[in-house]
Amino acid sequence: MKALVFERSLPRFAAARVAGTLAPGGGARVGPLRLTDVDPPELPGPGWKRVRPRLAGICGSDLATVDGQSSRYFEPIVSFPFVPGHEVVGELDDGTRVVVQPTLTCAARGVEPVCAQCASGNTNRCERTAFGHLEPGLQTGYCADTGGGWSLSLVAHESQLYAVPDGMSDETAVMVEPAACGVHAALLTAASEFAVIGAGTLGLCTIAALRTLTTPHVLIAAAKHPAQKQLARELGADIVVEPDGLARAVRRAVPGTMVAGGQLTSGVDAVFDCVGSESSLAQALEVVAPGGTIVLLGMPGRVSVDLTSLWHREVSVRGAYTYTNDDFAKAFDLVQDARLERLVSGLYLLDRWKEAIEHAADAGRRGAVKIAFDLRNERGLS
């Protein structure tokens, strides 16, 4: 079958890193990712199903992988070669449409008894992502045994499968996975004053989730590009500003806030960093209130940030990785209520994968948000 496969190749990885630094998405042309014919993955055991992807999104973490920018932290929890793609709406052999919840937890791995995190429902924090009867892999799309969405076939455990309601379009369904990230992040704090940095897919889904699932007193979004700004407003941000205007906007929105040097004296209770860069984290520290929380949705990698204000103002920084099963279920409502299918800006056939990745890497500037592969009319399934 036709699949995009990411292989372990240090020279190509190095080339991707260089190309990705020069131009986002540049790693697609020189890196370890290639379109090839492979055997479909075997069903690993009972409870596993074959899924034929219909749409598969391109995520920021995929782009970081393609461009060789991912942290080495992931090395023990991925297995090569793997087929990327973890934002998947597909079809079972019986024709049932499903969204794949990609985290490969104890249930999928056949680990008994399940780890403490899975037992408590925090499956996104599973302690066994490198163990069990599967090759290591934190998610479908990073595991050699399961395949991934950027192909014509993958396998998924029944615990990962969520049926798509009748009437929900594929475009809506493919947004469930990123929307679930937004749901998870939005429910992490009990705050009411929010700032969201970044208005790509994650940022917009977080805005939608905050607006839908919480009762914000004020919700401020920092967005770079005109289309992002418009969507941020439509999805519920009260105030939308350029990134460099965030501190001014927060100062105005939170009564009594003054400025001392580059630091606001007060700020919003919670900042959602949906970029994960050095500058976005530094900016989050500038605008978060003393005692407030910075939630990292964007994958940060290695950054260098002055944490003095974090120490002095007793700010918490916490990660927000994927979602629990509850979050995932809630995301089905969110994608419909917030009409998140409007974020799907471009669909590509697998053969045009390089263009697709370059488009996704440059989405903001090109007025796009979510780019996905359209596999509904692909041939070549073995």
Binding site: R248, R252, G256
Partner: protein, 528 residues
């Protein structure tokens, strides 16, 4: 004998007309049949301004001579207009220096020891040391400032303000406490335009936001037609009520007003004060040299060059005494210099806006100030009827950069980026946003301790244009930053020709066109 103002009918032989364009100029060939309104030539200056000042103090209008009002042991406060006047700043000695020195001489002769000077800022930014020295001279500055006797009005100092009740119409009258409690308040003014002076000097210059909001609002500005014409200006009616209330409350004011001629630019810019068809070879050479060099100069440097200009303004009159009597005489003198009779309104009014307005001395004219200068000040330079007909189009020429001075205009940035992004309707802006900006503690802090205009000031700038917004069918800015122009709610045009073409969509084909050739300042007396 200086020539009066003049309305030129453009014909085929008329040379291109000079338009101000921020820190530069444009030569525009206006269509045949257009009119150009030129200001009167500068009036002759007083031969001996110091003697004229002395005489005004000794022979005041409807008041005892100043020396008779000065007694040992009394508390004397001298308030003076701030950096917003005159424009450009005048060559030294400034009128304020001349007048205050004369007042101080008389106070010293009378044995008055308790004397304080206050810059009447209202909600403007605090003046810098060099600006104070320029306005007052080193002698006064060095004698008063080190001892804390030269202060700048602080409308947000709760201990420094005194509420004196309300007018018959319920307007709060709250002014500077030191001024209110003095045995005599001497106000030293420079009347650059007819709007300045009179009761507005104290009732606005030394007031608080609580007091100012009664006349600095959209309704008042929409009912001031124009605010340059005291008798048809609700802005002035409110100030006059407050001024009379102050008098009734026992605040004794001795008003000293001065007027200037329109000798606005130094020799190297002499062409700016001449009518184009009268340019000599030297004027043409100066224009070319200045234009060419400005074209090669980075905008910031060009701005610095322009803001270093000191105007050769000269004093044309000085009058002192009772506020209303003084101001009536002052207004006559302003009109004598600036009034130009114009017959009939126009479909399209064009203006070239210069680099400076009252609120950007030594800084950039940001887009909000462009709006205020064009639709506020210049549009209102009329008596009886606006120059442009109702539903007509105003075409401004100005680069309108999306640029702000973060020290002087911090609240302007938020106003532009947050408020105008949502609406440009003055009434909606006033209702929804004014109070939060006016009471924002950060803006108050910057106003009190730095050199920032008060948080509410950009709102006033927007209200200043409210009458024009109400009156006009459209506004076009030639040569401006398109994004900034659109944020203002106006239309951008690359050339004057394009702008005139665009205007016909609003006013129809073959429109009448009038150009306000200003500055130097003029005021159109428009009959219909």
């Amino acid at each position: 004998m200086p020539r009066p103002g003049f309305v030129l009918d453009v014909d085929r032989s008329t040379p291109p007309t000079l338009f101000w364009h921020g820190e530069g100029f444009r030569l525009e060939r206006l269509p045949t049949g257009s009119r150009v309104i030129y200001p009167p030539e500068p009036l002759d200056a007083l031969n001996d301004p110091d003697e004229a000042i002395r005489r005004a103090l000794l022979e005041p209008l409807d008041s005892e001579p100043l020396p008779a009002l000065l007694k040992p042991g009394m508390k004397l406060t001298i308030a003076f207009d701030d950096v917003s006047l005159p424009l450009p700043p005048m060559r030294q000695p400034d009128n304020r220096q001349r007048v205050i020195e004369a007042v101080l001489d008389m106070a010293a002769a009378a044995g008055v020891d308790d004397v304080q000077l206050i810059a009447a800022l209202a909600l403007h930014r605090r003046m810098t040391e060099s600006e104070l020295r320029h306005a007052l001279g080193d002698r006064i500055y060095d004698a008063f400032e080190p001892h804390g006797l030269l202060t700048q009005h602080d409308a947000e100092d709760p201990a420094g303000m005194l509420h004196l009740g309300t007018t018959d119409e319920g307007e709060d009258v709250e002014i500077n406490k030191r001024a209110a409690e003095s045995d005599l308040l001497v106000y030293v003014n420079i009347n650059l335009v007819a709007m300045d002076g009179g009761h507005k000097s104290v009732a606005t210059g030394l007031a608080s936001y609580k007091s100012l909001r009664h006349h600095h609002n959209v309704r008042t500005m929409q009912h001031s037609r124009s605010f340059m014409d005291q008798h048809r200006s609700e802005l002035h009616s409110s100030n006059w009520r407050m001024g009379r209330h102050l008098k009734a409350a026992g605040v004794k004011i001795f008003q000293i007003e001065t007027t200037l001629n329109t000798n606005t630019f130094p020799d190297q810019f002499a062409f700016l004060q001449k009518r184009e068809w009268e340019w000599k070879a030297r004027d043409r050479a100066s224009f070319l040299a200045v234009s060419k060099s400005l074209g090669r100069t980075p905008p910031r440097l060009a701005r610095r060059i322009f803001h270093s200009i000191n105007a050769p303004h000269e004093m044309t009159s000085v009058q002192a005494g009772e506020v209303e009597a003084v101001h009536a005489r002052t207004t006559e003198n302003v009109y004598r210099q600036q009034l130009v009779e114009v017959s009939g309104q126009t479909d399209i009014l064009t203006m070239g806006l210069p680099y400076i307005c009252p609120y950007n001395v030594n800084s950039v004219m940001n887009p909000i100030l462009v709006m205020c200068t064009g639709l506020g000040y210049f549009f209102n330079l009329y008596r009886n009827n606006p120059l442009v007909r109702p539903g007509g189009v105003l075409i401004l020429s100005h680069p309108t950069p999306w640029e702000f001075d973060p020290v002087f205009h911090p609240s302007y940035i938020d106003f532009f980026e947050q408020v105008l992004a949502e609406t440009t309707d003055p009434l909606e802006i006033e209702a929804k946003y004014e109070e939060s900006f006016a009471t924002d503690p950060w803006y108050i802090h910057l106003y009190r301790t730095g050199h920032a205009y008060h948080g509410v000031h950009p709102f006033y700038m927007w209200y200043w244009g409210a009458h024009a917004l109400d009156h006009l069918g459209g506004v076009i800015i030639v040569g401006g930053d398109p994004a900034a122009v659109r944020r203002l709610g106006f239309k951008p045009a690359s050339t004057m020709r394009d702008a005139l073409e665009m205007a016909t969509d609003v006013v129809g084909r073959d429109p009448s066109i009038t150009h306000l050739h200003c500055p130097p300042l003029l005021m159109a007396d428009v009959s219909v």
